[in-house]
């Protein structure tokens, strides 16, 4: 079953066409990679799914429901969590407050506590720093916090925007280890990356976005070997 289905989506910022007739789908349990150069429209796509941007035309369905008829908070309530580009932790709030705000749409307190405990087990660093202001965390720790915060809403679908951005290779390895573990736990993901190799190696399927359009799609392993992808993104 398709968790996410996008048909013919077009988005523009004023005169700038950011997405032109994009169609894609994500099935339950998959990691789907979305790769493309700077400015290809990757973040725009995720922001449109999260209802931060109104598209010009097209359709987005999540679990068969019309996303474009929902408010941003409804999308989260229904089970879509978004880890934004650049992490965007709430710098002036503590690590734990950031995590608890991740569960803003949830109201069952014992379950929220349980989930918090689960995140602390997954990210022991965050437990050590639970009272620290999030703005004082290192880049890698902030990325972990952003992911853990998204998981606090108990999502069915996780949208990840460049989780490797600006991180040392060793930290990137940790983050992708966590991404694989989450996927093994059953979390479906749409993963945006500029690090095409890493993304495609970890994804079941992938799409290549160029200047707002999907120019290629296929199995992750096939795309890694594709001559055009190699030339454009893998060097």
């Amino acid at each position: 079953m398709n968790v996410l289905e996008i048909n013919n989506l077009s988005v523009s910022y004023g005169a700038v066409q950011a997405l032109i007739g994009v169609s894609l789908y994500v099935q339950r349990g998959e990691i789907v990679a979305l790769i493309g150069a700077n400015g290809a429209g990757k973040s725009t796509l995720l922001r449109t799914i999260s209802r931060l941007i109104k598209p010009k035309s097209g359709e987005i369905r999540y679990m068969g429901e019309d996303v474009l008829a929902m408010r941003a908070d409804t999308v989260v309530r229904k089970g879509v969590a978004h880890v934004p580009e650049g992490r965007r932790v709430l710098a002036r709030l503590s690590v734990e407050d950031n995590l608890l705000l991740g569960a803003y749409t949830r109201s069952n307190r014992p379950k929220i506590r349980e989930n918090l405990e689960r995140q602390y087990r997954r990210f022991p660093r965050l437990r050590e720093r639970r009272t620290q202001l999030a703005g004082t965390l290192s880049g890698g720790e902030q990325q972990m916090l952003a992911i853990a915060r998204a998981l606090m809403s108990e999502p069915q679908l996780l949208l990840l925007d460049e989780p490797s951005l600006g991180l040392a290779p060793i930290i990137v390895r940790d983050i992708f280890q966590i991404i694989r573990e989450l996927n093994a736990d059953g979390v479906t993901m749409l993963l945006v990356e500029q690090n095409a190799q890493l993304a495609l190696q970890n994804a079941q399927r992938g799409y290549v976005l160029e200047a707002g359009s999907v120019i290629l799609d296929g199995k992750g392993s096939d795309l890694v070997d594709d001559a055009r992808v190699r030339k454009a993104y893998l060097g």
Partner: protein
């Protein structure tokens, strides 16, 4: 200044400072969420005072559309204050709808909102004048209505006399301050407000309905503004439709002094200016306002972000 007078003045300053603090918090809440000063806040303060007057069941004067009118019922002063605050909160929410939201939805420059809120303030002043005239109104004496003694004396031989009204004003301000601090720091909605204040986009991604929180903010801001208006009206009188304008300016001095957008800063700024004014020697009392702004000016020379203003958080 002899010691008794000094103590009285300090107490006076605390009472006035407490009101400054809660009034200024109304500005601070809106500023921290939207990054703009709500110039209609002073007008909401005025309305709060008039609403309380009406809820007491008191009769309006000889001028205006509501001349000689009164509500068919009256409630005791504490309840009237609460209702006055709630009504001011509702008005504040309406102001957000009319003067803030339409501009925000169109992505207008925040500076434009400044002007539209100023316009609302002027309109409210005029409407008040149209409805109840320009005369001053005083609340019925608490001594009569609630049987409270006009003043209390502390100490034996040369007792310090403190007006009961000041004790009431100070206590009510402190209760409001404590409740507000609790609300902001320890409730789920309060945390969400902090999140929206820091980053609206991220807040939306976390499932926070930012428009609804902005409404909550305006309501709370109007509520404390209205209570402040009632307290000042209780201390002196409601001096007319322009009642809140001068006070509104003082409130601006308070938040700038404390540090724009800082909640503890607003409280500290309120108390500093309240005490500063109260300690002005009697023969210079006419220069009270100038002294408040002089203090502000000097502090800003030393600390351009105000006493507790934070340096900008480095974006990663």
């Amino acid at each position: 200044m002899d010691f008794n007078v000094l103590i009285q003045n300090v107490f006076n300053g605390l009472a006035v400072g407490g009101v400054y603090a809660i009034f200024a918090l109304g500005y601070t809440l809106v500023f921290s969420i939207l990054g703009i000063i709500n110039f209609a806040h002073g007008a909401v303060f005025t309305l709060g005072a008039y609403f309380t007057y009406a809820f007491l069941g008191a009769r309006f004067g000889f001028n205006g559309l509501l001349a000689n009118q009164q509500l068919p019922f009256g409630v005791p002063f504490p309840l009237a204050t609460l209702f006055g605050g709630l009504a001011a909160g509702v008005i504040s929410v309406l102001i957000e709808r009319v003067a803030f939201r339409p501009l925000r939805n169109r992505g207008a420059d925040p500076l434009l909102t400044l002007v539209s809120s100023l316009g609302v303030a002027v309109a409210i002043v005029n409407v008040i004048q149209y409805l109840v005239g320009a005369e001053a109104y005083s609340y019925p004496s608490l001594t009569i209505s609630l049987g409270i003694p006009p003043s209390v004396m502390l100490g034996g031989e040369r007792p310090i006399v403190i007006r009961t009204v000041q004790i009431i004003i100070f206590s009510v301000s402190m209760v409001v301050l404590v409740l507000l601090t609790y609300f902001i720091n320890y409730t789920k909605v309060g945390k969400a407000l902090q999140a929206v204040a820091e980053d609206q986009i991220t807040s939306r991604l976390l499932g926070i309905n930012t428009d609804r929180l902005i409404v909550v903010t305006f309501f709370v801001s109007g509520f404390v503004g209205g209570i402040a208006g009632t307290l000042v009206g209780l201390s002196v009188s409601i001096t007319g439709p322009y009642f809140g304008i001068a006070f509104g300016l003082k409130g601006l001095a308070v938040i700038v002094l404390g540090g724009l957008g800082s909640v503890p800063g607003a409280v500290l700024g309120g108390l500093v200016i309240g005490l500063g004014e109260a300690l002005v020697p009697a023969q210079y009392v006419g220069y009270k306002d100038a002294i408040a702004f002089a203090v502000l000016f000097i502090v800003l020379l030393v600390r351009p972000r105000g006493i507790l203003g934070r340096t900008l958080v480095q974006k990663v």
